[in-house]
Symmetry: C2
């Protein structure tokens, strides 16, 4: 039996998974991301965690084939993290350092893309090779997978479907600096922003007024429960997301869209509405593209990371 590790490096926690090279997840756990000293402890901590797990499980070093990883922001082909959000690194050669620290070959990529590979390997996109995986949380990103391989783009900026321009009326800028991006509407923060605007700028009756703090989940739940004002917000979320995916599909013609991230917990209530807007905006030749929910949740990152160092 051979083994490998999948490592999902985030700003608060590093998630780790021990896999067989047949793809079985044997163990998963997480360690805190120690940001002190310019995040210099993060990679040594990962190497320690891997060494301890091998000892705990009694696995011989020669039976380990490699360590895959995902990290925020652009990652070069040879595993340099350019400027990961919530980590204090600039052009950090993660693959090289993790190879040296662990003694195992390490390879990785951007966390969204790596999680997308996870969904293709073991999740909602099993069996597909042309896949767009769209995690919706604070923002909206996409892993663009063509022929089983991630398209990273010239600057590592492929899949920024959350920054397709969709709205000419909003005045405040998106976090990216542009104005009118999908992400300003079709994200958890977008739902909350639109709800706040509704509550402060209108007298429209809505059950959301009964809440002290409105979360994205509150908006979705109120829409589900039939609150007309909340549904209007939710509808705009789905409209703009469906539009941006129709544009994406016109460019790369995938087999399937996988919707993931925290907001995807809304399930088919979300998926069906997004797909109906997709069909509205897509040209006839691509209207049949499938939609499905992500299946791996928080495990997508470690699964995708492991898949990078497994010959499938």
């Amino acid at each position: 039996m051979k083994y490998c590790f999948g490592v999902d490096i985030g700003g608060t926690f590093v998630k780790l998974g021990l896999f067989t090279t047949d793809g079985e997840l044997l163990d998963k756990w997480q360690i805190p991301t120690r940001r002190e000293d310019a995040s210099s402890h993060v990679l040594p901590d990962i190497a320690d965690a891997i060494a301890k797990k091998l000892e705990e499980k009694g696995i011989a070093r020669e039976d380990v084939t490699g360590v895959g990883f995902g990290t925020p922001g652009p990652v070069t082909e040879d595993g340099v993290a350019v400027c990961p959000a919530n980590l204090d690194w600039v052009n950090k050669p993660v693959a090289k350092e993790l190879t040296e620290l662990t003694g195992f070959p390490a390879r990785g990529g951007n966390d969204v893309n790596v999680a997308g590979l996870g969904e293709m390997w073991r999740g909602g996109a099993r069996g597909y090779k042309n896949v767009v995986v769209v995690p919706i949380g604070t923002g909206v990103g996409a892993a663009i997978i063509v022929g089983g391989k991630v398209i990273t783009g010239t600057r590592g900026a492929a899949g920024e479907v959350g920054h397709i321009h969709v709205d000419d009326e909003i005045e405040q800028p998106c976090g990216c600096g542009a104005v009118g991006c999908v992400e300003q509407f079709s994200s958890a923060t977008g739902l909350v922003r639109m709800a706040k605007k509704l509550l402060t700028e209108t007298d429209t009756p809505t059950t959301l007024r009964d809440l002290e703090v409105v979360t994205a989940k509150d908006v979705v739940d109120a829409a589900k429960a039939g609150d007309a004002a909340a549904d209007q917000i939710f509808d705009k979320f789905c409209d703009y997301l469906g539009y941006s995916l129709a544009a994406t599909a016109a460019v790369i013609d995938p087999e399937i869209f996988i919707i993931g991230g925290g907001v995807s917990k809304a399930g088919s209530f979300l998926l069906d509405r997004v797909q109906s807007y997709f069909v509205k905006y897509a040209w006839p030749g691509i209207r049949g593209i499938k939609f499905a929910l992500a299946e791996l949740g928080n495990d997508a990152g470690i699964c995708g990371a492991a898949s990078i160092v497994i010959d499938k």
Copy 2:
């Protein structure tokens, strides 16, 4: 010296080119596309033309490495033309038949994609590997080239950037069946359609009223000459095209856009305006993407076709 052929199969003419495998174009010519008998003569005619050219030039058959081709519509990986526009074929195994008829290995793809490869090999995109080549004529298409390879999409429908939805006001449908596609505005036919609408539905003064028949070139020329109404039409053309390219760039992050096709004869007058709208709609991380004009004109197809059968 070794040789190869590039063949660009269109609905009216088949263009042919004789190349050295070093990439030199030695001769080019065209033959009519004989549509009679369900277009069954087209491939035999091409084989005849190639055989005659070899005889004329005194080239030995063993010095010919292959025949590349481009044909309209989706083309599968193994060279089957699914339903080429202006040809009466359905699932025509062009690569297989052309290999048998000529005795040389034949490979090919969709004509827009093949012309895009030509621009990358010898034209406006020389030296680039992540390229979007956008021919603008009757319609608008795009060759999406990532890492030097064309992305064809699941249904051969990648690069249909002309069918990104951009307009909610137009009522008549696009040729594709959707309503409000880029192509209804940002194409030669789009320019003519908008001009006709202006002339019949408004009293706006414009030099276009002096013409018996208004062509796309007339609209561009009038805009260049300072005609305000023509400029407004031309501006909408550039606005929607720039928008759709910004959406395209958000998805795949190319190095450069190459604008080609008949309308690109408008030169920098067109290029600069499209790029300024691109910058308006693109998110900051990709605003620096380059724009250039196609350079090969009608030779792009035969060049790209030849490039397919040359080891570069």
